[in-house]
């Protein structure tokens, strides 16, 4: 099948492209699909292009979670490092590269919350030991939620399409099922039953491995 031979034209062309060390710019910028293809192939220039195009969005997300500063910067750099070293896990047929980067960033944010929570608890444990107070304080509920978030983001990654995009539109874009159906062209009834099955699957995952019920 030669479907890939037909590509949409680049969104914009840059007339004056300064050449970058170690790269060959040929006058026109590659489109996002081409950047994604080269990224998967391990072309270093594609990492720089991806950073040019999407680092500000990824960093915006990190700043929203942690405020400007070292934590946000760490999330952004970890997102791109993980995406690059784990590029073989990117599946173009499952979605666009920037959307995948945002998904990686979500994991890094959740991981950072979990790390902070562990630090907070170890500090608290040291303090409460001195006072011989019980360790299960008001923070344990937060700890469980932080752990469940890491667990469920991992489970989302295992959900196939179109189910995963449907639930992501509901969770992360706050769209109703009718808006999702309109946006995707997937029939309303199909959207509804996919949402139900996915929520059931996530519930099962929480019931088996969730921290909230065990704590």
């Amino acid at each position: 099948m030669s479907l890939l031979a037909v590509r949409r034209p680049p969104l914009g062309t840059v007339a004056d492209v300064p050449t970058t060390q170690g790269s060959v710019h040929q006058g026109a910028e590659p489109d996002d699909i081409e950047v994604a293809r080269r990224f998967v192939d391990g072309d270093e220039q594609a990492l720089a292009w991806a950073y040019e195009r999407w680092a500000a969005q990824v960093h915006g997300m990190a700043v929203r979670a942690f405020g400007p500063g070292p934590d946000a910067e760490d999330v952004t750099q970890q997102t791109f490092i993980s995406a690059w070293t784990g590029r073989s896990r990117y599946r173009p047929d499952q979605g666009a590269l920037p959307a995948w980067l945002v998904g990686v960033c979500r994991h890094k944010i959740a991981d950072t919350w979990a790390k902070r929570e562990r630090q907070r608890r170890s500090t608290e444990a040291a303090t409460s030991e001195a006072r011989s107070a019980p360790t299960a304080g008001p923070g344990s509920e937060l700890a469980a939620e932080v752990a469940d978030r890491v667990l469920l983001l991992g489970e989302l990654n295992r959900i196939g399409q179109p189910q995963r995009s449907i639930i992501e539109l509901a969770f992360f874009e706050d769209l109703t099922h009718a808006q999702i159906a309109a946006r995707t062209g997937i029939p309303l009834g199909t959207v509804k039953s996919h949402i139900r099955r996915t929520l059931e699957r996530l519930r099962d995952r929480l019931e088996v491995d969730g921290a909230a019920l065990r704590s």
């Binding site: 960093h59 910067e73 945002v102 929520l199």
Partner: protein, 267 residues
């Protein structure tokens, strides 16, 4: 007592207003209420603003790239001017199979800064009508192949009300079967496919009228089994053909004109 449709309970867990009957029922039914509460836990965990799709871009300071370059060993560098330009770029909405459809623009305007891909002209993928003359031939083949199928009761999935063998179209290496099952008024189409993997495209199943002039999209299907709910009220005798097409990731919601398998439902 008639409980709420489980799908409606799932939507209620996402915060959508259930239909009036279900909403009234939920006020009195502890069982349905428990179901909503149990489904809501994952919503509470994941649907938080900090994880939502970014809206506000912030250019990272230079040390971020320096750390990435050090960790990955890449020798190239992003151009600072282009990172600034990235501030006005958007993250494309997640879309099933990247269906960047016309409705994305017409139904709900994209938030400012989001990427909306331009449409590609239909002619780019070849004459849409080229598969239409094939329909008649496949219809005959499908009817001969399918034979008479008695409705069988299947405890899990409901009663089988129609079946089709799916045969490859010329030059396609693919095969499959389709089954329509009905349970308490709801009909589902199960498609079992043996098809090649695609790159940059996906499979979609359609119900076609016998003359293949009109069609209803049922949903996206994959290698192996996929179960999809049929639109309520669709008359299968008016749409007797099951068709599986290859849809490029171009956001055009109409049939691509490239089908891999097709067969006629027999009841």
């Amino acid at each position: 007592m008639q409980h709420c449709d489980p799908d409606e309970l799932a939507l209620a867990a996402l915060g959508e207003q259930p239909p009036p009957e279900c909403a009234a029922h939920l006020d009195d039914c502890a069982e349905c209420e428990r179901e909503v509460a149990s489904l809501r836990r994952s919503v509470d965990v994941l649907a938080v603003p900090a994880l939502a799709t970014p809206r506000q871009a912030v250019a990272p300071p230079p040390q971020v790239w320096a750390a990435i370059a050090a960790a990955t060993g890449v020798a190239v560098s992003p151009r600072p001017a282009e990172i600034e330009a990235g501030l006005s770029r958007g993250i494309p909405m997640p879309r099933p199979a990247q269906a960047e459809t016309a409705t994305a623009e017409t139904v709900d305007p994209e938030p400012a800064g989001s990427t909306v891909l331009p449409f590609r002209s239909r002619s780019a993928r070849g004459p849409a009508a080229r598969w239409l003359p094939l329909a008649a031939a496949v219809l005959v083949g499908g009817l001969i192949g399918a034979g008479a199928v008695a409705a069988t009761q299947d405890g899990a999935g409901g009663a089988v009300v129609a079946q089709a063998g799916l045969d490859p179209l010329p030059e396609q290496i693919a095969s499959g079967t389709a089954e329509v099952r009905e349970r308490s008024g709801v009909r589902e189409l199960q498609v079992d496919l043996d098809v090649p993997a695609l790159d940059g495209a996906y499979y979609e199943v359609w119900l076609l009228q016998a003359d293949a002039q009109r069609m209803v999209p049922v949903g996206i299907v994959q290698q192996g089994a996929t179960v999809l709910r049929l639109p309520d009220g669709i008359d299968l005798s008016a749409y007797p053909l099951v068709d599986v097409s290859v849809e490029p990731l171009d956001g055009d919601p109409t049939h691509s004109g490239v089908s891999v398998v097709r067969g006629a439902l027999s009841t």
